[in-house]
């Protein structure tokens, strides 16, 4: 198969299937498995596309048979493919989990597929307006998903989620229009080239707007207010998708727009980015330590983890960007694993949770160690000894605090003699669901033991960002 076929398949397959499945009753198991099969096919094609991009360079398709420069472009470079594969993989795991415990809504599989279609689309598009359209596709599906199971608190959470993120989307839309106004084009490469000749005074406002829009989606420190309310209430598989896959919109968007299109403005604003990231790390960790409920701890932990990605982004350059990619990938896996495992009971579930906890805290055998090391290295590469020392100290502090809160949760869930909470210990969860989370935990361990592929991928992905803009800082 050619690269362009693979590219169209990765985006188009979940999309077409989602439209078809929306007509069927998603509560039937076969519909769920059909959706999972389609998603798996899209995942395989994304991975195959990734191999091709890795060997032969970026793949580009102009949609609708238009000549180049006129039609809308789908463009797969390594950064996009890595994020698309991770997001679709996490969504696939969550969908399989939900089908195993039993889907309770007609539309659930179709909505999940829409989220996947939007996410892989926005990672593989080469057009900033299409980026907006794709992320609205997945966000809109996610608004509905946040209310999945329709408990009152979940519907309220969905409302908060939709209102706040709609505001973020509008801000991003305004920034897209402004970018179009100053550069006269919507194609990412052309925008990046044109932006170098534009007066930074007008671009810095646009960059700040984009930064705020993505920070709202990520739940970064001053924009985090909505995040706990949504994550705590939502159902396990939905929470895994929100924090494991949907947050990648923010991660990828910040890397693509900050590291590639507006790289000069990111360099100007680096100090602000570093300070916000550091505040996020400390704030998230401290709040997480003070909380009791598992999902609440995980929600605040998500705020803290985003901070590391932002710090890596603020340091910039090939080292910083590749650290951000590694951290985002590992963080997606961790969050998916932890949210899925938190409500299960039975043998080996505790072990799977412990692996996730180790990974968040950055303890060696788990993948989190690799990502923490990458951020450490990036911290040492920061300009000036003062910054380097402060950042490394901060990262160490954050890791220590995350160790504390993760094991508080572990103790409460799996070691306490009387299992607290209304869910009795005798009632073990379905074996297949447990097998799934154990497989996820094994994946986290494998990445930790054999990190070379991830390291090479992230370096190449960062090179895709900095190489074409002339080396970064």
């Amino acid at each position: 198969m050619t690269g362009s076929t693979l590219l169209v398949l990765s985006v188009g397959l979940p999309w077409a299937l989602a439209a078809a499945l929306a007509l069927l009753d998603g509560r039937r198991a076969w519909v769920g498995w059909l959706a999972a099969a389609g998603l798996a096919a899209s995942f395989v094609s994304t991975v195959a596309l990734g191999f091709r991009v890795f060997r032969e360079g970026p793949v580009e398709v102009v949609m609708g048979g238009w000549p180049e420069g006129v039609g809308i472009v789908l463009r797969a470079d390594l950064l996009g493919v890595v994020f698309a594969a991770v997001s679709v993989g996490v969504i696939l795991a969550s969908l399989a989990y939900e089908v195993l415990v039993g889907v309770r809504s007609r539309t659930f599989p179709a909505l999940i597929l829409f989220v996947a279609a939007g996410l892989s689309g926005l990672c593989l598009t080469g057009d900033i307006f299409n980026f907006y359209v794709f992320f609205e596709i997945s966000m809109t599906a996610a608004y509905v998903l946040a209310g999945y199971r329709e408990q009152d608190y979940q519907v309220r959470g969905a409302f908060i989620f939709a209102v706040v993120n709609l505001l973020g989307s509008v801000l991003f839309l305004i920034a897209v229009a402004a970018l179009y106004h100053v550069t006269g084009t919507l194609e990412m490469q052309a925008v990046a080239e044109e932006a170098r000749d534009v007066n930074p005074n007008s671009l810095i406002t646009i960059a700040a707007t984009i930064f705020v829009a993505f920070s709202l989606k990520l739940g970064l420190f001053p924009f985090h207010f909505w995040l706990p309310a949504v994550y705590v209430g939502s159902h396990a598989s939905v929470a895994a998708i929100l924090s494991g896959a949907l947050a990648n919109i923010g991660n990828y968007g910040l890397l693509r727009f900050g590291g590639y299109i507006l790289s000069e403005e990111l360099r100007i604003g680096a100090v602000a980015v570093l300070i916000l990231g550091s505040t996020s790390i400390v704030y998230g960790a401290l709040q997480a330590v003070s909380r009791h409920e598992t999902t609440e701890v995980l929600a605040y932990s998500a705020i803290g983890q985003v901070g590391y990605i932002l710090v890596a982004l603020g340091i910039g350059g090939p080292i910083g960007f590749s650290a951000a990619v590694i951290y985002a990938v590992v963080n997606s896996l961790n969050k998916a694993l932890l949210f899925l495992v938190a409500r299960l009971r039975g043998s080996l579930v505790g072990a799977a949770f412990a692996v996730g906890a180790f990974s968040v805290a950055g303890v060696p055998p788990a993948a989190g160690f690799v990502s923490k090391i990458a951020v450490f290295k990036a911290g040492l590469a920061a300009d000036g000894v003062g910054w380097a020392v402060a950042l490394v100290a901060l990262i160490f502090l954050g890791s220590a605090l995350s160790f504390v809160y993760m094991f508080q949760v572990y103790q409460r869930l799996f070691l306490a003699r009387e299992p607290q909470g209304s869910y009795p210990k005798e009632k073990t969860s379905p074996r297949a669901a447990r097998a799934l989370v154990i497989a996820l935990a094994a994946l986290v361990l494998v990445v930790g033991f054999w990190p070379e592929p991830l390291l090479v991928l992230s370096e190449e992905a960062a090179a895709a960002l900095t190489g074409s803009t002339g080396g970064g800082s």
Partner: protein, 143 residues
């Protein structure tokens, strides 16, 4: 012209922001509609050029107005109207279960739920068995 357009965009955005900060969640959604509309105006303003209609075949040597901004505004309009429809249905769902659309009442309920969470009760687990009694016949497949 630039001043006039920016004043209009600012006024629409400002009134939208004012409504978003109200207590009534219905007004919040109307405010969001206004804010999205200010974004559409901004898109149109980003490529506001006067010229012949951009339809093939293009007139020779004459300025053509920019079709791209209109396409963008139209796309964004469709997206925002569907999201607003979704938000309105969420409001209706909240209204049917809480009998109110007042944020202060809703946040009181939220506080009560949060306290329940602090006592480590898991409301979802408790309420699950009650809903949808016809579950069994649908779950034959996976076992």
């Amino acid at each position: 012209m630039i001043l006039a357009v920016s004043l209009v965009v600012a006024t629409v955005f400002g009134s939208g922001a004012f409504l978003v900060l109200q207590r009534d969640i219905f007004r919040v959604v109307v405010g969001l509609v206004l804010i999205s509309n200010s974004a559409f105006l901004f898109i149109i303003a980003a490529g506001l050029t006067r010229g012949a209609p951009p339809i093939l075949s293009l007139p020779e040597g004459e300025a053509v107005s920019d079709p791209l901004v209109q396409a963008m505004a139209l796309t964004a309009l469709v997206i925002s109207s569907s999201v607003v429809a979704l938000l309105l249905s969420l409001i209706y769902r909240i209204y049917t279960s809480h009998d109110t659309v007042d944020l202060s009442v809703l946040s009181e309920v939220e506080m009560r739920d949060a306290e329940a969470l602090e006592r480590e009760e898991d409301p979802e687990r408790e309420e699950e068995p009650k809903e949808e009694p016809g579950q069994e016949e649908l779950e034959e497949g996976p076992r």
